[in-house]
């Protein structure tokens, strides 16, 4: 039995999500290999080789993988998968885009977003926005799985010394091409790996008012997130969205400001260690999951919070 992990990376570095997947792979058992497919991936491959517990790194360095086009990367996975009992990827947008394509080509029913490993063929996964946890058993010969990163501890990034081998590229499927991207540049930690997340909802009233949350985030080295309502209203970009259909986060501290606490939002943050809610409506459902609730007008409370954080 051995496990192939599809690395989440930006060519130069390995994303923390992959380290969480390594922990899930260890729970399954067997040797762990990491595939780094991209262009100019030496940095990410070297990082993958250092991860504790990894036996081998497969490097597929080719223009066809430069932008993670699903048609091309899935082809590569299909070529490699028969050597493995399990193929795992993080349940990021990228992992969720590529893995089902590979699974269908292998005639495998993928298991999406597992939150626990019960045995090599049995896994737990949240359904209905996390309101039901299903334990499912797969009868497929190879198991293709996406992993909810927040449900597994992060594996040590250092301590390993895996060999790096080149994997033969499977070529360009010629079906799609990358045109461009609008990436949000930020100095802040990534939403999905930050220790503290400060999120704003419709109650923020405008994108400009998110400056109030950024001031808090600065004090706590936090990432800034948002509800769907705040994203739909154009206050902040789409990749801020936390929830059932956005990002799943589980930081040490989650501060929800002007967010009512709809089930779809809770689905993305209710596994945070400590939850704080600031809302002027004392009946807002968010208070039912908050460890600390402050019933207040955010336009008064948030600047006061920033001030209180300044005092040691």
């Amino acid at each position: 039995m051995s496990v192939l992990i599809i690395a989440e990376h930006d060519n130069a570095t390995l994303k923390p999500a992959t380290l969480h997947v390594v922990t899930a792979a260890q729970k399954i058992g067997g040797g762990i290999h990491i595939l780094v497919a991209g262009q100019g991936v030496d940095g990410a491959a070297a990082a993958a080789a250092k991860v504790a517990g990894v036996a081998k790194v497969l490097k597929a360095d080719h223009a066809a993988y430069a932008n993670q086009l699903a048609e091309n990367v899935a082809k590569l996975i299909v070529a490699l998968a028969p050597n493995y009992s399990h193929v795992l990827a993080a349940a990021t947008v990228n992992g969720k885009n590529i893995m089902p394509r590979a699974a269908a080509l292998l005639d495998v029913q993928q298991i999406s977003e597992i939150s626990a490993v019960e045995s090599p063929d049995t896994f737990v996964r949240p359904t209905y926005a996390g309101n039901a946890l299903a334990t499912v058993q797969s009868s497929d010969k190879i198991k293709l799985i996406t992993v909810r990163a927040t449900a597994f501890d992060i594996a040590p990034a250092e301590g390993g010394s895996a060999a790096i081998e080149s994997a033969a590229a499977a070529g360009d499927a010629g079906l799609s091409k990358f045109i461009g991207q609008e990436v949000q540049k930020t100095e802040r930690p990534e939403l999905t790996s930050a220790r503290v997340v400060v999120s704003g909802g419709r109650g923020m009233q405008s994108g400009d008012n998110f400056k109030l949350l950024e001031a808090v985030a600065d004090k706590l080295n936090a990432a800034v997130g948002a509800s769907r309502a705040a994203v739909d209203a154009g206050f902040v970009p789409n990749d801020y969205q936390v929830g059932q259909t956005g990002k799943i986060v589980a930081p040490e501290l989650y501060i929800a400001v002007g967010i009512s606490g709809a089930i779809q939002h809770l689905a993305g943050m209710k596994d945070s260690k400590v939850i704080v809610a600031i809302n002027k409506d004392e009946d807002a459902p968010i208070f039912q999951v908050a460890d600390y609730g402050l019933v207040a007008d955010l336009f008064q409370a948030v600047p006061e919070l920033t001030q209180a954080l300044e005092k040691k």
Partner: protein, 250 residues
């Protein structure tokens, strides 16, 4: 160009689902059912393509038990031209849905298939990717903008982890919708009436030559552990004090 839209019938997004006490699944008896919200967005996009003269016909497909016909009617009331109902009472998992949809596509030969990015019941987020794989077509998932070009290509803007990304795909292709692609319309009363006359073809997995048997066996379904409400604090200062000295997270 013919557009095929896959619409799934799911427990309504506003229902608080209950896990059955015998641990076999969630309660779906006497629960409000609706079209999956992402499928509504898919139908809306198809209707807009038709209104813009880019689509010639819209076929709405749903797979499952008898009541799926209602979901097809909703799509017809929104503007789809006809429906296909693949009838089965077998539990359908994404790979089986993709195989059945492929068989329908082989019959119908659309230039574009639009699916939701995710069904809000199983939260699988697989079917569109699987369908395009089986067809050997390009996939444009998490779409927030679609532009059909004149030269048998389309540009699709996708909502990705870092922001937005635009890809160009050859037609025919499969697209899956994200929340911000459009805002679905409500069907007007006259259109609901008109929809009653639109045809729905009934098919079966057997007729399509597909074995829909599930590959994943659900051993049990449980409720997640509940978080209990904590305490209310009176001020920001008290909050910071608790976070520092009680929770010790800052």
């Amino acid at each position: 160009m013919k557009v095929l839209v896959a619409v799934k019938r799911v427990v309504d997004a506003n229902v608080k689902v209950r896990v059955k006490s015998d641990g076999t699944g969630v309660e779906t008896q006497n629960v409000k059912m609706s079209m999956n919200p992402f499928c509504e967005i898919a139908v809306e996009e198809a209707v807009r393509l038709k209104e813009a003269g880019k689509a010639t016909e819209i076929v709405a497909v749903s797979l499952g038990g008898a009541s799926c016909a209602e979901t097809i009617r909703t799509a017809l009331a929104m503007g789809a031209d006809r429906g296909i109902h693949v009838q089965t009472d077998v539990e359908l998992q994404p790979l089986a849905v993709a195989k059945l949809l492929k068989a329908v596509v082989d019959k119908e030969q659309p230039g574009l298939c639009i699916l939701g990015k995710q069904a809000i019941d199983d939260d699988s987020n697989q079917t569109g990717q699987m369908l395009s794989a089986l067809l050997g077509w390009p996939q444009a998932t998490y779409a927030s903008k679609l532009v059909i070009n004149g030269d048998n290509t389309a540009n699709v803007t996708r909502e990705v982890d870092g922001g937005l990304e635009t890809i160009q795909v050859k037609t025919p292709f499969v697209m899956t919708t994200d929340l911000r692609l459009n805002e679905p319309r409500y069907a007007s009363l006259p259109n609901i009436m008109k929809a009653k006359k639109k045809p729905i073809e009934a098919l079966t997995p057997e007729a399509l030559g597909v074995d829909p048997a599930p590959r994943l066996k659900t051993l049990k379904v449980v409720e997640p552990s509940k978080r209990s409400a904590g305490v209310k604090v009176k001020s920001a200062a008290e909050l910071v004090d608790k976070l520092r000295n009680e929770a010790k997270v800052i």
